[in-house]
C-alpha cells in the first residue's frame, strides 16, 4: 500500500462504545497505530462515536483537514453504518467514501483476552484503511414502490394490520389458509386481563375486513411462491377448492341441512374435536366469510363417487361445485406482512400427563371451547363422560421451560391459566388448583389481574407436576391424581381431581421453515421468525419490505400482538407513502464490450436478475433486481462483471491489509 501523494486523506475513529469496546481493546493504542498507516491524517478515539458530538467530530474533521475518506471502528455496520455514512455525507463527501470496522460484535464481545483483541483490532483497522483508499463514489438508486400490500394470516395480527392499512387507503390482500379468519382468538370466550368477551372485540373486526372496499379477502388460500424485491414482489397464491363457488354462496346452510348424513359424524376442527360436523360445514357460526365448504376426506362423493349429492340439488344458487380444482393467481405487491401465528404444543409430547389416555385430561384450547357460550356445549362444562367436575387441576408450563420439549417461556400460559381458573370457577363452582413453576405475570394490569383472581379462592401450588394417573381409591377410576412437589413446603403432594387442564405452550407453526424459505426471511433454531433488530427494527425482517406481526415472531398476548400489527402496518405505510425505495448501490453490472456472452452467469443469480440478450449476444443485469450477493461476480470467467463496493481492487487491498501484519510491533505493554 503506497502513499497516494496526499490525494487520499483518511480520517480514522475508534469508538469506546462506553466500555463495550474499550474494556477489551486498547483504543488509544489502535488510534495511535492507525495514525502511522499510509494516507491517515486524522486518528482519534471517542466514547460514543454514534452520538451527536461523535458525528460532529467526523463532519468537522472532514472540513478542517480536507479528509477524503472516513473509517470508523465501532459496532456492527448493521447498527450504525448508515449513521456514519450520513456523517461522511454531511461533511461534504460521497457517503460511500466510508468504511466501517466491527470491533464490537466481531472482536470485543467474542474474545476473552485483551491483548489478542487489541491485535485483532489493529489487523481489521489496517484492512479497512487499505480498502477505503480504493473506494469510489456511488449513488443510491430510487425505484418506485407498488402500493398494494399482502398480509399473510388472518389471526388478530393480520386482521389488525389489514384494517389499519385499508383505513389509510391502501389496497390489501389478506390471505388466510383456513376457511375463516379469526385465528386462535376466535376460539376464546373471554380474554385476560380485562375478561372482556373475545367475540365482541373480534367479530366486528372480522366483518369489517370482509366488507372493507380496500381489502381483498382470500380464505382457504395459501401463498406458494414469492419473487422479486421490496417495492415489487410477485406472489403466487393457491386457492384451495372449497367445492363451493364462493361468489354464489350466501351461507344459508341449506346444503348442510340437505347432506345425506342426517347426523353430524366427523370431528369438528374448530371445536377441537369436542363436537361433530358433517362433510359440508360452516367452520363456526360467526365464520368470516360466511361460506360453507366440503371436506373431501369425509364426503361420500370423494370417497366412492356414490352419493346422491343432495347438497348440490338443495342449493338454490347452484353454488355447490364438486368438480372444483385448485386455482392459482399471481398478484403484485410492494410489501408483505407475515402474521401466520403459532400453534399450541401437542400435549401428547408430555406423555406422563396422560392427554389422549385419560378422558379427564383436556388442553387449554379445548377448555376455551368448553366454556365458550357459542362452543359445543354452549358454555356448560360437561366432561367427556357427561359429568360435571368438582375439582379441577390446571397444570402450567406444559411443553414450555423444559429442555425435553421447548426451552422458552410461552409468556401467556400463566395468565390464560388464571383466566381459565376464573372462568371454570364461574361456570362450575369447582375447587381449582393451579400447579405452577413460577407465576409470570408481567405487563400492564397483569399482576393486578392475577391478584384479583387469586382472591376468588383459587389454590396455587408451586411445583412442576411430575405425574398424572388414575386414582385407585376411586371405584370408577375416573378421578385423577395430580402429583407434584410443593416446593414451598417441600413435600410431595397428591391431589385428586375430576378434570385436568394442560396449559400448553406456544410454538412455531409446523410449516414455519417452508414459509420462511419461500419468503426468504430468517428464523431462529426453534422456528420463530427473526426480527431485524429487537430494539431498532422489531417488526422488520432481514429482507426489505417483509414485516412481522404477532406470534409468528414469538409468543405474546393479544395486546402485544395488536401493537406489533399496528407497528408493521406503520412501517409499510412509511415505505408506501415515500413512493420509492432507495436501493443500496452494491449491485453488479456487466460491461457490455467486455462480455463474451458465455452465459455462465445467467442461471446462477438467485434473484433472476440476469438475462441473456439474444440480439446482442451479451448478458445483462437488471440492477433493480440485483441484491449484490456477488455470485455472478465470482463466476464470470472473464472478470467482466463488476460489483460496486466490492471491486477487485477494494477486496485485494483489504486482503493485503489483513495480511500485512509483519510490520507491526507485536510487543505491547499493558499497564
Amino acid at each position: 500500500m503506497e502513499k497516494k501523494n496526499g490525494q487520499i486523506r483518511i480520517g480514522f475513529y475508534i469508538c469506546h462504545c462506553g466500555s463495550n469496546i474499550a474494556s477489551m481493546v486498547d483504543v488509544a493504542k489502535v488510534s495511535e497505530y492507525a495514525a502511522s498507516l499510509p494516507n491517515v491524517v486524522v486518528s482519534k478515539d471517542y466514547k460514543y462515536m454514534c452520538s451527536d458530538p461523535g458525528q460532529e467530530m467526523i463532519i468537522n474533521d472532514i472540513k478542517e483537514n480536507n479528509l477524503t475518506r472516513v473509517v470508523v471502528a465501532a459496532c456492527s455496520p448493521f447498527l450504525h453504518e448508515n449513521t456514519f455514512r450520513n456523517a461522511t455525507f454531511q461533511g461534504g463527501l460521497n457517503q460511500f467514501y466510508f468504511q466501517m470496522v466491527n470491533t464490537r460484535e466481531h472482536n470485543a464481545w467474542v474474545h476473552l483476552e485483551a491483548m489478542a483483541t487489541t491485535e485483532k483490532a489493529l489487523d481489521l483497522v489496517r484492512a479497512a484503511i487499505y480498502r477505503v483508499a480504493e473506494h469510489k463514489p456511488l449513488e443510491r438508486k430510487k425505484v418506485p414502490i407498488h402500493p398494494d400490500v399482502l398480509v399473510l394470516g388472518g389471526g388478530i395480527a393480520g386482521i389488525h394490520s389489514a384494517l389499519t392499512l385499508a383505513n389509510a387507503g391502501k389496497k390489501v390482500y389478506l390471505v388466510e389458509r383456513e376457511p375463516t379468519i379469526g385465528g386462535h382468538m376466535a376460539m376464546f370466550d373471554k380474554t385476560f386481563p380485562t375478561l372482556d368477551c373475545a367475540a365482541c372485540i373480534l367479530t366486528p373486526k372480522m366483518s369489517a375486513v370482509k366488507n372493507h372496499p380496500n381489502i381483498v379477502l382470500w380464505t382457504y388460500a395459501e401463498i406458494v411462491g414469492l419473487d422479486g424485491f421490496v417495492g415489487s414482489y410477485k406472489a403466487k397464491i393457491k386457492h384451495k377448492p372449497r367445492y363451493i363457488i364462493e361468489e354464489l354462496c350466501v351461507g344459508c346452510n341449506d346444503c348442510i341441512e340437505a347432506c345425506v348424513y342426517k347426523e353430524a359424524r366427523f370431528l369438528d376442527e374448530f371445536n377441537q374435536g369436542l363436537s361433530k360436523r358433517k362433510p359440508v360445514y360452516m367452520p363456526f357460526p360467526q365464520a368470516t366469510p360466511q361460506i360453507v365448504l366440503i371436506d373431501p376426506e369425509t364426503c361420500i362423493h370423494f370417497k366412492s363417487a356414490k352419493c346422491s349429492q343432495t347438497c348440490v340439488t338443495s342449493c338454490e344458487r347452484n353454488a355447490v361445485d364438486l368438480q372444483q380444482q385448485p386455482r392459482f393467481e399471481e398478484i403484485e405487491v410492494g410489501t408483505v406482512i407475515v402474521a401466520t401465528g403459532f400453534k399450541p404444543v401437542d400435549a401428547r409430547k408430555v406423555p406422563y400427563y396422560g392427554y389422549g389416555n385419560f378422558p379427564g385430561v383436556y388442553t387449554a384450547l379445548e377448555v376455551e371451547r368448553l366454556i365458550n357460550a357459542s362452543g359445543p356445549t354452549q358454555g356448560e362444562v360437561v366432561l367427556r363422560d357427561g359429568s360435571h367436575p368438582k375439582t379441577i387441576g390446571i397444570v402450567h408450563c406444559v411443553g414450555s421451560r423444559d429442555k425435553h420439549t421447548n426451552q422458552w417461556c410461552s409468556r401467556v400460559c400463566c395468565l390464560y391459566s388464571v383466566k381459565l381458573a376464573h372462568l371454570l370457577k364461574e361456570h362450575t363452582g369447582a375447587d381449582i388448583y393451579n400447579f405452577y413453576i413460577d407465576m409470570r405475570t408481567p405487563g400492564k394490569m397483569m399482576e393486578e389481574f392475577y391478584n384479583r383472581i387469586a382472591e376468588e379462592g383459587m389454590k396455587f401450588i408451586r411445583g412442576r407436576v411430575a405425574d398424572i394417573y388414575p386414582d385407585r381409591d376411586d371405584p370408577q377410576r375416573k378421578r385423577l391424581i395430580v402429583k407434584a412437589e410443593d416446593t414451598l413446603i417441600q413435600e410431595i403432594i397428591k391431589i385428586p381431581v375430576d378434570m385436568v387442564v394442560l396449559s400448553t405452550g406456544l410454538e412455531p407453526r409446523e410449516d414455519a421453515q417452508e414459509v420462511r424459505r419461500m419468503l426468504n426471511i430468517t428464523c431462529s433454531t426453534e422456528g420463530f421468525y427473526i426480527e431485524r433488530h429487537p430494539k431498532l427494527a422489531p417488526v422488520n425482517t432481514f429482507t426489505d419490505g417483509i414485516f412481522l406481526a404477532g406470534c409468528c415472531q414469538g409468543p405474546k398476548d393479544i395486546p402485544d400482538t395488536v401493537a406489533q400489527a399496528g407497528a408493521a402496518a406503520a412501517e409499510v405505510l412509511a415505505l408506501i407513502d415515500k413512493g420509492y425505495i432507495e436501493i443500496e448501490p452494491n449491485t453488479a453490472y456487466i460491461n457490455e464490450e467486455e462480455c463474451s456472452g458465455c452465459k455462465s452467469c445467467v442461471p446462477l443469480c438467485p434473484y433472476t436478475a440476469i438475462s441473456y440478450i439474444e440480439e446482442k449476444k451479451k448478458a445483462f443485469i437488471n440492477e433493480a433486481l440485483c441484491k449484490g450477493c456477488g455470485t455472478c461476480v465470482a463466476a464470470c470467467p472473464s472478470g467482466s462483471i463488476i460489483q460496486n463496493l466490492f471491486e477487485d481492487e477494494e477486496i485485494f487491498s483489504e486482503i493485503e491489509g489483513i495480511l500485512n501484519f509483519r510490520n507491526i510491533q507485536r510487543e505491547m505493554s499493558y499497564a
Binding site: 463474451s596 458465455c598 442461471p603 446462477l604 463466476a635 464470470c636 470467467p637 472473464s638 472478470g639
Partner: protein, 322 residues
C-alpha cells in the same frame, strides 16, 4: 541501409513453437524483413551474443523474447536484451505467464532431475550420472548454465512493455504488433496485444450454449465423441474459452478441441485458473459431497487443466513448499 529499426528475437524456456509462428507469417515475413533489421534470431540467423553486446544500449527498437526463465543463461540474455532495447515484448504464453514449462513449479528441482536422469521409464543410467555445471578436462573448462529452483515469467525477471499471448501466438497478432511498432502508435505500457474479450465471443458454437448449464460430469476428449455442432462446455468438455482471451481465431474449438487457455486471462482477471475454477464450481449440479467427488473424477489433473499455461504468472506461482 541500416536506417531500418532493429529487432531482436530470442528464445528462453520454450518449445520452439513461437519461432514457428514467426515463420508462419508466410509471405508477410518478406514485409517484416523489408521493414526491419533483425539483429538477433538464434533459430534463423547466425548472430552471436557478442554482436548484440557490442551494440549501444537502447539501440534495438524491440526485442521479442519467448519462453519462460529457468536457467542462469536465459536470465543473463534477458537482462542484456533489456539493456539494449527500447521495448521488450514477452512473446507467447511461456514468456507471458510461464507456459507449459511453468507446470514444473509443482516439483522441486531435485525431484525433476531425479526423474529425468534416473527414474523415467525410458532412462538407463546405472551410474546415475547427472549433468554438471562445470567440467574440467585436459586443462579446459566447459560450463553449462545453472538451473533456478523455479520457473519465472519474463516480467518476473526484467521489465516488459508488452505481451503477445498464445501457445504459440497467431501470426496475425505478430503482424499487428510489428505494424504498431513501426507506426509508433503504441498502447499503454503493460498492454497485452490481443482483444480483451473472452474466446466465446469469436466461437461459432456459442449460440448453442444453453443459459442454464449445469455440470453433472466432465468428459475428456480422448474418451468421448465430440458433437461438432454444439458448445463443447455444454457437452461436458472443459473448454476454457469463457476464461481465455480471444485473438486466436478460435482455432482449437473450430477443430472440435476444447480451448486449453493458452491466451491467458483477460486484463480483468488476475488468476485465470482460479477464475475458471470459481466459474465452473458455481455451476456444478451436485447435491452432496459424494456427487461432487463423482464429478471431480472427470478432472484428474486440476493444475494441468486450469493452470496449463499460467502457473508461474498466477497468484499461486508455484507449490508452496517445493
Amino acid at each position: 541501409m541500416s536506417e531500418k529499426p532493429k529487432i531482436a528475437l530470442y528464445w528462453c524456456a520454450s518449445c520452439g513453437g513461437c519461432e514457428e509462428s514467426v515463420v508462419d507469417l508466410a509471405e508477410d515475413i518478406l514485409f517484416v524483413v523489408d521493414n526491419v533489421d533483425i539483429v538477433l534470431w538464434p533459430v534463423g540467423l547466425d548472430f552471436k551474443k557478442k554482436d548484440v553486446e557490442a551494440m549501444p544500449d537502447g539501440s534495438i527498437v524491440a526485442s521479442l523474447i519467448n519462453g519462460a526463465i529457468r536457467t542462469t543463461e536465459q536470465e543473463e540474455m534477458a537482462r542484456m536484451l533489456r539493456r539494449k532495447s527500447q521495448v521488450v515484448i514477452a512473446y507467447g504464453a511461456c514468456a507471458q505467464l510461464g507456459g507449459i514449462p511453468g507446470l514444473a513449479n509443482q516439483f522441486s528441482l531435485e525431484t525433476i532431475l531425479k526423474f529425468v536422469y534416473e527414474e523415467a521409464p525410458s532412462v538407463v543410467n546405472e551410474l546415475k550420472t547427472r549433468p554438471l555445471e562445470r567440467f574440467k578436462d585436459n586443462g579446459r573448462t566447459t560450463e553449462l548454465p545453472g538451473l533456478w529452483n523455479v520457473v519465472r515469467t519474463l516480467d518476473q525477471v526484467i521489465d516488459v512493455e508488452y505481451y503477445i499471448p498464445g501457445c504459440p501466438p497467431s501470426p496475425k497478432l505478430l503482424k499487428e504488433a510489428v505494424l504498431a511498432l513501426l507506426s509508433g502508435h503504441l498502447p499503454p505500457v503493460g498492454t497485452v496485444l490481443a482483444p480483451d474479450i473472452a474466446l466465446c465471443e469469436e466461437c461459432s458454437k456459442k449460440d448453442t450454449k444453453p443459459t442454464d448449464l449445469k455440470f453433472e460430469s466432465f468428459k475428456r476428449t480422448h474418451l468421448w465423441e465430440v458433437d461438432p455442432e454444439k458448445c463443447l462446455l455444454s457437452q461436458g468438455f472443459l473448454c476454457m474459452g469463457p476464461a481465455t482471451r480471444s485473438g486466436c481465431g478460435a482455432l482449437c474449438v473450430e477443430g472440435n478441441m476444447p480451448c486449453t487457455g493458452c491466451y491467458g486471462p483477460t486484463s480483468r482477471v488476475r488468476d485465470q485458473g482460479a477464475k475458471f475454477l470459481s466459474s465452473i464450481s458455481s455451476s456444478i449440479g451436485a447435491d452432496s459431497v459424494e456427487d461432487i467427488d463423482k464429478i471431480l473424477v472427470g478432472i484428474p489433473d486440476p493444475v494441468g487443466t486450469f493452470y496449463r499455461y499460467g502457473l508461474p504468472g498466477s497468484m499461486l506461482k508455484r507449490k508452496v513448499v517445493l
